[in-house]
Symmetry: C2
Subunit: 220 residues, 2 copies
């Protein structure tokens, strides 16, 4: 359980209590782990495999919002707000998920300083990203909107020292998220490839020239 | 200090410590209390008067995001993230503001269960509203986008039992926030008035027929 960052700094007593209350469940690939609109009765942890958070827009388009990896928790917003689930979560591989009952999770959120600190940091970052995303949506030039979206995506440095966007959403998902067409996204990415700014690999994007990407995002 | 909801349930010891650390400052009307991009060295409380949170869009338009009233706190996101201020805050009346140093505020966030719970609830609600707002921006029909925006605004029941949106942003601010023109906002509001759905008063909007507003927002 020390592999779940949210719980890694819990005291032994808390760890023991959480252990007795966790319930585990396997889900096959393509099954729905959380249903939008459902009741929030637990905090969920992804222990192995990969999940995708999916929302459905006003006009019925499904949008893949983000991917979850082993060690991530999810379902915290509805739990804290006492509201229904605001998005669905779907398994993109076979997964193992742990469920922590709502009352125990909520008690930890306010009574464990390490959990409170991490949870606040998690939510505050989400708010900052939402606000960057909102600023992005107000960019009228479509190409600049796409370049800015790519520049804002979380990047990691892989084992070969390359700067990489992992789990790149499909062109259709990007298009749905930032209000444009799939064709426009494909064209903008092709421009980036032709100019040597990025390199496309399966489900990932290698950022070859981050400065050039920033300049294009700024409209330079 | 019991009038500040965030601190209302603190124990006497915490209250005493917070009291010795709070610093107070008066600001005249129209002064800038927080500067976008500035360093986050304190959590702020509005003790009297009214403030407006203002952001500047990519293309330089100033957008009035929301109003703050006496008892509200602000500036928590940059504090938690250790980042710079993400928006400016401007006094719309003469105001009295209290400053709680960052280290004390952050300690309270994780070590006072009542503060942790309220802060998490505050952030989770913000995230939920941001996600509703994101869904709203994906509505292509401009009139429906405006009707949905109005339906989503926080409403209170005033002393005469009327359902009211207080501190209605200007038509220009609404237009900037939801990517349309001031004229379109003015026209949509006029439609609502003519159909007897709302009634306009100074800086507020009385919702006469909430069901009709919902129907219009759904495109009915």
């Amino acid at each position: 359980m020390r592999k779940i960052p949210l719980l890694a700094d819990l005291g032994d007593e808390d760890i023991a209590r959480v252990k007795t209350e966790l319930r585990y469940r396997h889900f096959p690939k393509r099954s729905v782990v959380l249903h939008k609109g459902g009741n929030a009765d637990a905090l969920l942890f992804l222990l192995s495999g990969q999940l995708q958070v999916i929302d459905v827009t006003e006009d019925g388009r499904a949008v893949g919002l983000r991917m979850l990896a082993a060690g991530d928790f999810f379902g915290e917003i509805a739990l804290i707000n006492g509201s229904t689930r605001s998005a669905s979560v779907v398994a993109t591989t076979e997964v193992l998920v742990a469920f922590l009952p709502a009352s125990t999770a909520l008690h930890l959120f306010s009574h464990s300083p390490s959990v409170a600190r991490k949870m606040l940091g998690h939510l505050a970052q989400k708010i900052q990203r939402d606000s960057e995303f909102r600023a992005l949506l107000s960019i009228n030039n479509t190409s600049r909107r796409i370049f800015t979206y790519i520049a804002l995506m979380p990047q990691v440095v892989d084992k070969d020292g390359k700067q990489v966007v992992e789990n790149l959403p499909t062109h259709q998902d990007i298009a749905n998220m930032i209000n444009t067409s799939r064709e426009t996204v494909t064209r903008a990415l092709l421009t980036l490839v032709q100019q040597g700014v990025v390199q496309k690999e399966a489900h990932r994007l290698v950022i070859l020239d981050p400065d050039a990407l920033q300049r294009l995002a700024q409209g330079g």
